[in-house]
Amino acid sequence: MWLVFKKELLELLRDRKTLFFMVALPIVVFPLLFGGVTYFMSQAVSEAQTKTLNYAIIGQDYGLELVDKLAGVESLSLQSLETQPIDDEQKKTLVRDGEVDFIVEIPSNFGSDIINTGQITIKVFLNDAQFNSVQSRLSDVIDELEATYQRVAFASLGLNEDQQTGLLNPMVIEKVNVADERESIGAQVGGLIPYFLFLLCLQGAMLPAADIGAGEKERGTLETLLLSPISRQNIVLGKFLTIAFAGVISALVTVLSMAIWGIVLSQGMAIKVVSDFMASIGLLDFLLVFLMLVPIVAMFAAILLALSIYARSYKEAQGYMTPLVFLVIVPVLVAVIPGIELKGVWAWVPLTNVALAIKELIKGTMDYVQLFAIFGSSVIIAGALIAFCVHWFNKEKVLFR
């Protein structure tokens, strides 16, 4: 068994294609892609926010104070229009044609005496499909004016500061969260983590599985292997271990690289939140998360091996394996549905129970007794699948298709 395992592993390590997918992709390529996208996004955002925008004002005379304030904003530049637009259509055309980036229309009731003016509606013509944060820049100015006018108005009514706050925001809801920080973050990310882990394990195990079963059949080495004086169980177990090992390693590599790159890329606050959160989970729970993966990977590896040995060629094997991804997603998604907890029947549903358990472990609310159900059902299923593989390795119909 170990003989087969050792040889398969050696062959796997020599295979540049598989290695590339297992190691290089998660360590280098994905982070570079994500990092690159994030970088360009932030570049684009900051450029959009600092770019100088041209604007025009209609009804300047109604709100000189606003005009002054806007003129004081560095990244905005006032343009005088050659012809005054008469109706809204013309204003829209001006913006659409790019004469100006936006037009501010100050209404005639604009004024500082807001008790008498009523609500003031300032119309802004802009192309909101463009990404240049017109509104936030305007709000900065207008909010400031608004606050000033409010204060003046309240003062004229003779209200003190407490009354003012009360009037502005008569009722507030204050949340007192009894869940500690770990539980609330855990509830948010805990559902996603098993999803990632499962798919990564499956993905990592797929290529070696296709190679080890169908690939060997295709190249004609399988027959020779079957004729050597080693029992079929040992061949199956050796191959099975290789696939499982590849799955776990590729998942670990990916998770580690995500963690490391995440720490490298994120700065300041984010790091502290993440590291505090990680520290609160504790070694035992981390170990348990990892242990949970073992029966899962065993299940995947056994299914993949069975499919792979049934297939006539590498390509056929990959065809059989692709739908597995969807089959895996469903039970994991079930675990994310609110209200489904690690209790009763759900503790026995394969994949779902592990996904739920990982979530509970991360939240720190694990009911450790349920581990028996989880390991019990997973081990039984994985064992049955391996037995099935051995059975298939004894079938002429499967081996010599």
Binding site: L3, L10, E11, R219, G220, T221, T224, P229, S231, F400
Partner: protein, 260 residues
């Protein structure tokens, strides 16, 4: 010593409608079963080389696969020495060195690693394996390329490596399925010399082939299989005596014998 008698093997036909016209005419098709091998008997004593002849699809490969325990027969007996192949397949595998026609190598391993892997699977220790590889490498003239990845090999190099792999554990009997098919003259000659060498060591060899000149050069005995049945099983002299017009005529005569 290899002794096969009354060997039979049928395959279930999954979809009878898919069979070609020619397949349907084959007398071996009965209902939902295709009797690939119906009645094959042969015998190869120590130090003898047996040539297995027959048209394509006659059941040669199936017979050899049955002998090598890759498939399980429905009827008949097979013995290698005093080991019952059917009752003790694992024991039989240790005694057979088998090379199938469609065999391949692990492309990402070197030739040496390929051979050593099967040595270890046969329970040999590293020291024995290394010695054996050195001596086989010399005999088959393959020392120059043993440490390269086998995916870079030419067909001849691959075949030599496959043969070395098949006999790494010094088997009691050697079974080769079309060992020279597709090889150039040089490589084919190496294979033939190797069979001669096995013969001189008193190792019985069964090989299937389509080259009649190889039969004259190597074989002591000839077995012809046609439509899954042994139609001729005797010495080379007996085979030659079937027709005065040379081996090809003898071969044709041996087939007709069976049909009649």
């Amino acid at each position: 010593m290899i002794a096969i008698s009354g060997l039979a093997k049928k395959f279930r036909v999954e979809n009878p409608k898919k069979l070609s016209e020619q397949d349907k005419k084959d007398p071996r098709l009965e209902g939902r079963f295709f009797h690939s091998v119906k009645e094959v008997s042969l015998r190869c004593e120590k130090g003898e080389v047996l040539g297995l002849l027959g048209p394509n699809g006659a059941g040669k490969t199936t017979t050899l696969r049955l002998l090598s325990t890759a498939l399980q027969p429905d009827a008949g007996t097979m013995y290698i020495g005093d080991t019952d192949v059917i009752k003790d397949p694992v024991g039989a595998r240790k005694k057979i060195g088998f090379l199938s026609g469609s065999t391949g190598l692990y492309g990402r391993l070197t030739g040496r690693e390929n051979i050593a892997y099967f040595g270890r699977l046969n329970g040999m220790n590293d020291k024995d394996i290394n010695q054996r590889i050195e001596s086989l490498g010399e005999k088959l003239d393959m020392l120059s390329f043993l440490d390269r990845r086998s995916e870079t090999y030419s067909t001849g190099m691959k075949q030599k490596t496959s043969i070395a792999r098949a006999v790494i554990h010094s088997p009691e009997v050697v079974v080769l399925d079309e060992p020279t098919t597709g090889l150039d003259i040089m490589a084919a000659k190496t294979v033939i010399d190797f069979i001669k060498d096995l013969k001189s060591q008193q190792v019985p060899v069964i090989f299937s082939t389509h080259h009649l000149e190889e039969v004259t050069e190597l074989c002591d005995k000839v077995t012809v299989i046609d439509y899954g049945e042994t139609t001729f099983d005797d010495t080379l002299e007996g085979f030659k005596a079937l027709s005065p017009d040379g081996l090809h005529a003898s071969f044709m005569a041996s087939l007709k014998q069976g049909v009649a």
